[in-house]
């Protein structure tokens, strides 16, 4: 079953580009990652899905319902964590959760207590007194209230310490294990690779690649960096793609059996060798080239 579907979705902020012709399809029970650096359009897509912003063109559906016309009904089964948590500064944690629960049919006091215990939240603290990590926890707690079927998370682990990231990851995997769906944006590629079943890469508001991360494990090759005398013919024979080759150093992508590579390289005078399994980060960097200063790898 399709949970999120967009067709040629285009959003502009006045004359500035938001997203352009975005087509995505998120299926039930999967964790879908939306990857791109800051300003690429990740938050804009999420805000358009949640009807904060009206699309200029195209359509968006969640649970088969039109995001523009049936936003309220969609949100009855949806939890959202924004990228930057700006909640009510003078309202306590408990009041935030009570307020969020008051909108939901199944948001109960017991559920609030359970979430607060799980995340170690102090109910009496005012929001402005919280650290960034604790603010994220409040946002997560309110998103989980009311038994949602879909979570939309915008940079959910940004600013969290490793322990909190672990708790968060466990929560998401547990959520997914119940057959529910997560749509998250991130520029933390390790997180995406670890958590997501599928991912799309967005650049300048448009999707440039979509990939099945779990099924891709076998498709990824090896990135070989070496220093030594590797003849041009051998380089061409071994490599699927040459990244660089200059003054006795070469960097290339190898797809094939590892023993074949070792056997072949052993025939030449190699001074230094580094072999790394290709992953989503490498794929991602292909699209962004040198424009990757915002990425966490």
């Amino acid at each position: 079953m399709t949970i999120i579907e967009t067709k040629k979705l285009t959003t502009y902020y006045g004359k500035s580009r938001g997203i352009e012709d975005v087509d995505i399809c998120v299926k039930e029970g999967e964790i879908y990652g939306f990857v791109g650096p800051n300003g690429a359009g990740k938050s804009t897509l999420m805000r358009t899905l949640l009807n904060f912003i009206r699309p200029r063109e195209g359509q968006a559906f969640i649970f088969g319902l039109d995001c523009k016309k049936e936003s309220k009904k969609i949100k009855e089964s949806l939890g959202y964590v924004p990228g930057e948590i700006k909640y009510y500064p003078n309202i306590s944690v408990r009041e935030h959760l009570d307020y969020a629960a008051s909108f939901k049919k199944e948001g109960s006091k017991d559920q609030i207590d359970a979430m607060m215990r799980l995340l170690g939240l102090e109910g009496d603290k005012k929001f402005y007194q919280l650290s960034l990590g604790n603010k994220k926890k409040v946002a997560l707690a309110q998103a989980f209230l009311g038994d949602p079927k879909l979570l939309i998370l915008d940079e959910p682990t940004g600013g969290l310490d490793p322990l909190l990231q672990r708790i968060f990851t466990d929560l998401l995997l547990d959520f997914k294990a119940k057959g529910k769906t997560v749509f998250l944006s991130s520029h933390n590629l390790k997180e995406v690779a670890h958590l997501c079943d599928r991912a799309s890469i967005i650049k300048d508001g448009s999707i440039v690649d979509s990939m099945d991360l779990k099924g891709m494990e076998n498709e990824f090759g090896w990135i070989v960096s070496l220093k030594g005398e590797l003849p041009r013919e051998a380089l061409e024979e071994l490599s699927s793609e040459v990244y660089s080759s200059d003054k006795g150093t070469s960097r290339f992508l190898y797809k094939g059996k590892m023993d074949n590579l070792i056997r072949c390289l052993s025939l030449f005078n190699i001074e230094d060798l580094n072999i790394k399994k290709e992953d989503i980060e490498d794929r991602f960097l292909r699209y962004y080239g040198g424009d990757n200063e915002h990425l966490q790898i």
Partner: protein
Amino acid sequence: MNIFKFEIKRNQKTALLWTLISGFFVFLFMALFPSMKNSGIQEFVVTKFDAFPKEFMTAFGVDSAVNFDDIMHYTAYTLQYIIMAMAVYGILLGFDSLLIEETQGTIEFLYAQPTSRKKIFWSKVLSHGWLLFQSLFLLGMITFLSAVVFKPDNLAFRTLGLDMAELFLGSLFVCFLYFFLGVFIGSIMHTKSSGLALGIFFLSYIVGILSRIKEDLSFMRYFAPFDYALPMDIVRQGWDLKYIFVGAVAMIVLLFSSFFLYQKKNFRI
């Protein structure tokens, strides 16, 4: 109802603060009434105020026809400045009602909940409108009770009550007109600007002064909501139905156009 209650709780303190400060000043001024009455202030007013140009006195809402021996005239004169503060509070409340969540980014919490823009709009407008009504009602009660304490013995309690009610209905009308103006601007803007709200109020106030000073510019009074029901005018001449009609139509138009604009608005967070 949950948004309505939440908004009331969140903004109650500020509303009470405005009311108490305004109420304190009203009480202070009313406390001066007996000494004003007994110290021959009216003779002073007639003698001295007549020396000023008529336009100058009109601009400040006072002239020799103001009878400072009459508690209602005195109250109306005092109240015009207090109501000015409440009208500013009204436009700021109207501004805040739709805009503060967008300015502070909290709309990302609220509108992510299963609720509609329609519900958010009406809850916000009603809750902020209630706060304004509550403030004006309390201010009216403080003014009335102060007047009861300091009124001359020969003035009937009932007459005073009815006159005060009329005065405060006028103030309510003016303040709500500014409130709906604030709501309307809030529905088209993306960032709160108290300076803009104050600017709009004082511009309209100056337009009102000009319309009072120059006969040729009297038509400009339509653009000066504060002058639709000036306390002194209500006490001396009663309601001017022409302005009440225009004001009522303006409130309805502002409210419903705000509603439709808010449904289509792109939230900038």
